[in-house]
Symmetry: C2
Subunit: 287 residues, 2 copies
Amino acid sequence: MSMIIERLAVIGVGLIGGSFARALREAGTVGAIVGIDTDRSNLEQALSLGIVDEIAPDAAQGVRDAQVVFVSVPVCAIPAVVREIAPFLPAGCIVSDGGSVKTAVVQECEALMPPGCAFVGGHPIAGTEHSGAGAAFASLFNGKRCILTPTRDTDAGACDTMARLWRSAGANVCSMEPGHHDRIFAEISHLPHVVAYALVHAVGTADVEGENVLSYTAGGFRDFTRIASSDPVMWRDIALMNRTALLASIDGFSASLAELRQRIDRSDPAGLAEFFTIAKQFRDGIL
Amino acid sequence: MSMIIERLAVIGVGLIGGSFARALREAGTVGAIVGIDTDRSNLEQALSLGIVDEIAPDAAQGVRDAQVVFVSVPVCAIPAVVREIAPFLPAGCIVSDGGSVKTAVVQECEALMPPGCAFVGGHPIAGTEHSGAGAAFASLFNGKRCILTPTRDTDAGACDTMARLWRSAGANVCSMEPGHHDRIFAEISHLPHVVAYALVHAVGTADVEGENVLSYTAGGFRDFTRIASSDPVMWRDIALMNRTALLASIDGFSASLAELRQRIDRSDPAGLAEFFTIAKQFRDGIL
């Protein structure tokens, strides 16, 4: 592929940021890549692995001359990073991110952009259980979805550049409003995590004649509750940043559970079979 | 091992019943095995695979001369099967089962036993996603738990015989009251299924600007909701048969979820981190 931008700055050269850099380099759509990271040893590893061509002593110097700055740090830290770099952005620079919550991030970051610079919210739907520059690989986004969340104020050319970069990284790009993104991910990602945490919390604290019921769990319970082993700090931040949409999703789920509970309570065999069958059809439909 | 019983009748020669037969035969703790099954072709397969030595034209004839009758049919069908065979049980016969709900089954079946015969409730914690005689194998119960649920009225010798049989099949045997069993499994098995069904139901019917949000799900959602693809009829029956304990478990879960919802609603970072951390510790503890 031909070059799309000459200089990319990646802030946070971990699994996502590092894989984005590797993918663009492999595609030949970027010239030089500069890495910025508060974790100095991770940054040096990124340099020695050839993920980045150079490393910057601080974000302000790193973003100088960059056409695109990709911010790939924990979602709650994105606005602060963008606030820090904003005064140093060159004219025409595009800032984008990979955070899993969009409304709060886009709102804050868009407002921080100096004239002539554009913020484009993004969320690549990809990952592994590993982290850090050492875990990054070029094909991470191959065939995966990347959602861009432009607003009415987002520069169309900037959005197009980010779409072309993500496509060159192998991703299927689509666009939607930040709020729409957040309502979808509240349902399919944030709600399941909250439910899994609540389930393990409930079962772990259940008092069945004083016995630790968790000692009786088998593979099914372990698989079902795997996501409750996720990083509590990351999920604290996501829950807070997508609070409104997540509360609505929890309420929708609670209504479904209440409906199911009622059918059990009134011993309604037809109603139960119907409920379980509808759910099974939804589940089988996503296979 | 030396023989424990001379003649075993297995009613329902599927994954569990067939594997129990195979395991006892391999251990050498049973003489002849007779198979009984309403599915004629499954029964003939069991015979041709050598799982059973003979097949009976009906349950009444099949249990004649058996020292142990193992009833391995869907849990809601167990009492009806025991009612059917009760008049034909030989003196001293032990009837046992493998159902995943115990209070209702044990209560009904114990009352059906003719004088001199004993019912011993049982629940081997093992399985695969396959079913039928063709899926049965001798090592299914190796190192797995088998819970026996004798009551105050259960004959101690009968319970001991079942414990020896299960141990010879490779299982770790423990005993508890039927109600205690049902409260434990309401928490660790029945509740997670109900929650998974309710979650998929809620997400599948969620209206996010008219879009099908399930199309955005990835591997994490699929793994988390796998158990919502279970057999709706089986889970209808389990929900109805363990109704009281399950309702209590649902209420405990709802209280945990409400607590978590409140911490999100009031934007309580410390409270959220604490809740998620406690849940993660419970989850990591069962690895």
